[in-house]
């Protein structure tokens, strides 16, 4: 009931407000809904972290950084579970089942917090059709929270689609000039992806052998698949949402045209739903294809990192620059996940949270500037540090956090990713049933090159962010319009200050989040490791897998070694 309450409070209050309140007071209802939701999310986080064993040490369980195999399949322990079979659809095995683990809890917290900021940043910016605006915003919140709680594949798909429609209206009605193009592109991209996902979900239903959509039942029975087409179908939906190069082209348009609240939630939370889907469903259900395609996705991630950064450098529109920086940062996260080792995955999950804070903060800042000057072109600004110093200072924190300055949160996330990718990315597998197709993919595997290129992305990140900051805030205050800009009021100041404090706290004490995250990482890696190791001819779990210490290039794997599952790590 708790999660149901958490999910549906925004939508219900929004619907009631739209039906009964006058338009001017709708924002108060929206704020109330978001704050109640945030309180519920904080209570949830407090409850879960309060019960969390802070002495938890994944190394003791044996999955720290290297592959240690056990045949026993461990499921993530979901809390606050709710399970109601869908009325009258028992024969179709669809159920309304919810539950959260540490990963979902973190993302729910982020969603609830950014929801409040989404309302606050629209407080004066939205003057027409307020009822609709806040209704869409609250419905969007419900959809996103539903994604993070759903444990049934069809329910997950429903929430996934429910999320799309409000954003379609938010961009299409309240966006800037080219909003129709942007919103149509967003919907067509999302829809193409999610339909492939639905096909994969139906495929899973018929091929699992237990005829169910319940993720708990699937993973509880240890059901995994090795077919790569349904895996790719599912991944297409997630990678479009992430978005990974080359599926990213909708993102800059959507970001640039969206109203500030839309951008903040889009960058802060919506992109994470893709990563969340990969971690929660795609990898645990398809461990063998996930590992087999890891080199491919690592390479795409590296391209995204470099390409996003390159594009960001040449942008003249501040918001578009931040949008491209999102492409680059999401590349880091994807890379961290497909390294399949504990540090990188920890870093990736932490970076999901960080990216929500820093990029969300940057979009808030850009929105504040836009509200004052109604332009986002860098050439229109310059020397703003003289006219609006508080704004400049708080934006500086966000910029540095995004660029990965040590001491702020961005570094705490990016560093473990680079560490992990340098250490052993991506490992090679020869699962017993791996086809020659998988072997072909593993041919292109130059791990050190991936790590080096990704590290260069960090440098590029500093380049475009600092250039942007320099052009906007430093130099002479030349334009007369910029001279009398009002500095931040308490509402705006509060938003950026809270995010800055959060960035600093996470930067200084990453273990606060890292510990709970490592539990999730451990769950995911165990779920991957189990099926890879499983071999009926070797029932004894004590047997060591074939581990070769040399030869990271994997040029000749597939020959010579015995036929059992053999995994090579550096």
């Amino acid at each position: 009931m708790y999660l149901t309450l958490l999910i549906f409070i925004p939508l219900v209050i929004g619907a009631l407000g739209a039906a009964f309140l006058p338009a001017r007071q709708m924002k108060w209802a929206a704020l109330a809904a978001m704050v109640v939701d945030l309180l519920l999310a904080l209570l949830l986080a407090g409850g879960i972290l309060g019960n969390f064993d802070w002495n938890y040490n994944p190394a003791a369980e044996g999955t720290e950084s290297v592959w240690v195999f056990n045949n026993e399949i461990k499921n993530p322990e979901f809390q606050l579970r709710e399970h109601i079979p869908w009325p009258m659809l028992q024969e179709y095995e669809i159920s309304y089942s919810l539950g959260v683990d540490n990963l979902a809890m973190l993302l729910i917290l982020l969603t609830a917090a950014l929801g409040v900021f989404g309302v606050l940043c629209s407080w004066t910016a939205i003057t027409k059709r307020e009822k609709e605006f806040y209704l869409y915003l609250l419905a969007l919140q419900t959809g996103i929270l539903g994604i993070f709680c759903a444990l049934d594949l069809i329910l997950f798909f429903m929430a996934w689609e429910v999320m799309m429609l409000p954003l379609y209206f938010l961009i299409g009605i309240f966006g800037s000039k080219d909003r129709l193009y942007a919103t149509m592109k967003f919907v067509l991209y999302s829809l193409a992806g999610s339909l492939m996902m639905l096909l994969s979900i139906i495929w899973i239903y018929y091929n699992s052998g237990v005829s169910t959509f319940s993720f708990e039942k699937l993973s509880g029975n240890g059901i995994t698949f090795h077919q790569y087409l349904p895996y790719l179908g599912m991944m297409l939906a997630f990678l479009i949402k992430v978005p990974l190069w080359p599926f990213h082209t909708w993102l800059p348009d959507a970001h640039t045209e969206a109203p500030t609240a839309g951008s903040v939630i889009l960058a802060g939370v919506l992109l994470k739903t893709g990563i969340y889907g990969i971690l929660r469903f795609a990898i645990p259900l398809f461990p063998i294809p996930a590992v087999a395609f890891a080199p491919l996705f690592s390479w795409l991630a590296v391209i995204a990192i470099i390409y996003g950064a390159m594009c960001a450098i040449v942008q003249t529109d501040v918001k578009r620059l931040v949008a491209y920086s999102s492409v680059s940062h999401m590349g880091f996260i994807v890379l961290g996940i497909f390294c399949f080792n504990a540090p990188a995955m920890n870093g990736a999950i932490l970076q999901m949270f960080n990216h929500g804070i820093s990029t969300g903060g940057l979009f808030l800042a850009v929105g504040m500037l836009y509200e004052r000057r109604h332009t986002r072109q860098m050439s229109e600004f310059g020397g703003l540090a003289h006219s609006i110093p508080i704004y400049a200072a708080l934006t500086m924190v966000m910029v540095l956090s995004s660029a990965g300055l040590p001491g702020l949160n961005g570094f705490a996330g990016e560093f473990p990713i680079l560490l992990g990718s340098m250490n052993n990315v991506p490992m090679l597998i020869e699962a017993r049933d791996s086809s020659s197709f998988y072997a072909l993919i593993n041919q292109v595997n130059y791990t050190w090159l991936v790590a080096v290129l990704a590290a260069m992305g960090v440098i590029f990140g500093a380049v475009y962010l600092l250039i942007m900051y320099q052009k906007v805030f430093f130099g002479k205050l030349e334009k007369s319009e910029n001279k009398n800009l009002p500095d931040l009021n308490i509402r705006e100041w509060g938003q950026l200050a809270v995010l800055s404090v959060a960035a600093l706290v996470i930067g200084l004490f990453p273990q606060l989040l890292m510990k709970p995250i490592s539990k999730t990482t451990n769950d995911v890696l165990t779920m991957v490791a189990g099926p890879l190791r499983f071999d009926a001819s070797h029932p004894n779990p004590e047997l060591e897998p074939v581990v070769e210490k040399d030869d990271g290039h994997g040029g000749d794997h597939g020959h010579g070694s015995d036929e059992h599952a053999s995994v090579r790590a550096h």
Binding site: P87, Y92, M158, L180, L199
Partner: protein, 566 residues
């Protein structure tokens, strides 16, 4: 079939044919009232006269609907009326959907009659005849009966299309519909002739039996006689079971007599017929082509956009919903009968799949370029016909016939799709007609509707996202496509599932364009929709609200629909 029995008295199960009788008599009553009301009741105003006609039509439809609902609950699945009809659950529920669509038509028509000054009596009489044809078609078990039903409903719809005599477009649409429809009828007749030639019967139930017999006879020469005897004995028993209230003994006696006669006749046929499955299949192909025309499936869809645009909107709604439901019900009964021939799935699957594929792609791609509302809806209905045909192809595919449960599920999924499709189109056409002349025209005229008429805009959005289907769960359109595609994947027809998904993704563009116009574009000064005051009537708003509510309700609890029937 010539039985040679002179003393034979046909058994009529009055309770089962009562709905059709009521519909036909209702139509005649309307004609009589239309002519006589002015004379009998002195000084009756045209408005009062029209409203009397409306209530009589609505009343007879409602009574019929209740009877069909009673039949749904007590369905036996046995043939009656000399084997010409057979009311299984699918047929009865299909007829119920037809009745729903026509009740909505009646609720919406007073406004149309007032605005366009149409003759109410003719319209309602034609409607009732058309509905009689549709409901009979959905329970037809005999090819000639089906042909007659198709002709009744088609002729009525031709005239209804041209009902607006002041509009040249309406006349053009009716003419086009009629000319092309005549071709389709020719295909149908030829197909029926082929099937009769191949099997010696026009009964669907009977066709199947004779095919079985044929296979057996091919396998074992000399056993033909024996099987013919056994077969006819079975037929006799069927007659006893379904005879109704007649004393059993008399029935047995008659059945024996009849059975002997059938033995005689079948023996001759079995001996003399070439029994070539090629002719059977060719007959099916021709009938299917004729049905494709009625269902506006590609490549027989060319008439649909012109007819939908020219016809009065609610007539277009009737063509798009009720007539298609009936034709699909007949198509399903046809393929089920054919499928007893063991090679039928292999022979027809390619045909059905390719027509489905072409319809989905052609309909969706064609709709992209349309700028007018009703033309867009016409192309969308072509695409939806393709999705339903995916369900039919799944039904035909060999896998489903080995498993009666899966068979039942596939039939249910198709029925659910038809029901959802009817609701969505009722809402879309209804709102378009509600908005008057501009609403039926350019989509650009919808610009800014959300500020002028927020409720209507929300209703249209609901219709559009439900038609889009797979995009947004929580509408009936989602579950319709979901069930059909799920069964297709289960039956191993992944290719058709892919096509459906691609089609749905394409369709997002043109459905959402309407939403874009209503919500995101500024108002157009020239000819905006609903610029002035809209005329309303209670029935109209009620049926729009009911359709919208049902789209949402069954979008959340889809399975409740089947619970209605059991």
């Amino acid at each position: 079939m010539e039985t040679g029995i002179t003393a034979y008295v046909p058994q009529v199960a009055w309770s089962q044919i009562a709905p059709f009788v009521i519909l036909t008599l209702g139509g005649l009553l309307i004609l009589a009232l239309d002519a006589l009301l002015d004379i009998v009741v002195k000084g009756i105003t045209p408005q009062r006269r029209d409203s009397v006609l409306t209530w009589v039509t609505g009343g007879s439809l409602f009574v019929t609907g209740m009877m069909f609902y009673g039949n749904v609950i007590g369905t036996t699945g046995r043939p009656f009326f000399e084997g010409a009809l057979r009311a299984d659950e699918f047929g009865n529920l299909g007829a119920l959907i037809v009745i729903f669509g026509s009740l909505v038509f009646v609720a919406m028509s007073p406004r149309l009659i007032r605005e366009k000054k149409l003759p109410a009596g003719e319209m309602y009489a034609l409607l009732l005849f058309a509905v009689a044809g549709m409901t009979l078609l959905s329970v037809a078990n005999e090819l000639v009966t089906a042909f007659v039903c198709i002709e009744i409903l088609s002729l009525s719809l031709y005239v209804l299309t041209g009902m607006n005599r002041r509009s040249p477009r309406s006349g053009e649409a009716a003419f086009k519909y009629f000319i092309l429809g005549a071709f389709a009828s020719a295909f149908l007749v030829l197909g029926i002739a082929f099937i009769y030639g191949a099997t010696g019967t026009t009964q669907l139930f009977g066709t199947g039996r004779l095919m079985q017999q044929m296979q057996a006879s091919e396998a074992r020469i000399g056993a033909r006689q024996l099987i013919a005897d056994k077969q006819s004995y079975d037929l006799g028993l069927d007659e006893i079971l379904y005879a109704g209230e007649r004393p059993v003994r008399t029935a047995v006696f008659e059945a024996e007599q009849e059975g002997r006669a059938i033995i005689a006749s079948t023996r001759v046929e079995v001996e003399t017929q070439p029994l070539n499955p090629i002719w059977l299949f060719l007959g099916f192909v021709l009938i299917f082509a004729g049905l494709c025309f009625k269902l506006s499936l590609a490549p027989f869809h060319m008439w649909a956009p012109d007819v939908y645009e020219g016809a009065p909107s609610i007539v277009a709604m009737l063509i798009a919903t009720a007539s298609k439901v009936a034709a699909f019900a007949f198509l399903i009964h046809l393929v089920e009968a054919m499928a007893v021939w063991e090679h039928f799935p292999a022979a027809s699957l390619f045909l059905l799949s390719s027509v489905a594929t072409v319809s989905i792609l052609w309909g969706n791609l064609g709709a992209i370029t349309q700028t007018r509302m009703k033309r867009m809806l016409a192309y969308s209905s072509i695409a939806h016909g393709g999705y339903i045909l995916v369900g039919v192809a799944t039904l035909v595919s060999a896998a489903s016939f080995n498993d009666p449960l899966a068979h039942e599920r596939i039939r249910n999924s198709i029925l659910f799709y038809l029901f959802g499709y009817t609701l969505m189109n009722v809402l879309a056409f209804g709102i378009a007609a509600y908005l008057g002349k501009e609403g039926e025209g350019e989509i650009a005229a919808y610009r800014g509707l959300s500020t002028r008429r927020p409720v209507l805009a929300a209703g249209m959005t609901l219709a559009m996202i439900s038609l889009l289907g797979l995009g947004i769960p929580g509408t009936i359109g989602f579950w319709g496509k979901y069930f059909v595609i799920k069964e297709a994947v289960n039956a191993g027809m992944t290719f058709l599932a892919w096509i459906s998904f691609i089609g749905s993704a394409i369709s997002a563009y043109y459905y959402l364009r309407v939403v874009v116009a209503m919500y995101m574009l500024p108002e157009e000064k020239e000819t905006p929709v609903a610029g002035g005051v809209l005329q309303t009537n209670t029935g109209y708003t009620f049926s729009l609200g009911l359709s919208g509510a049902m789209i949402c309700f069954f979008g959340i609890l889809p399975a409740l629909f089947w619970a209605l029937g059991s």
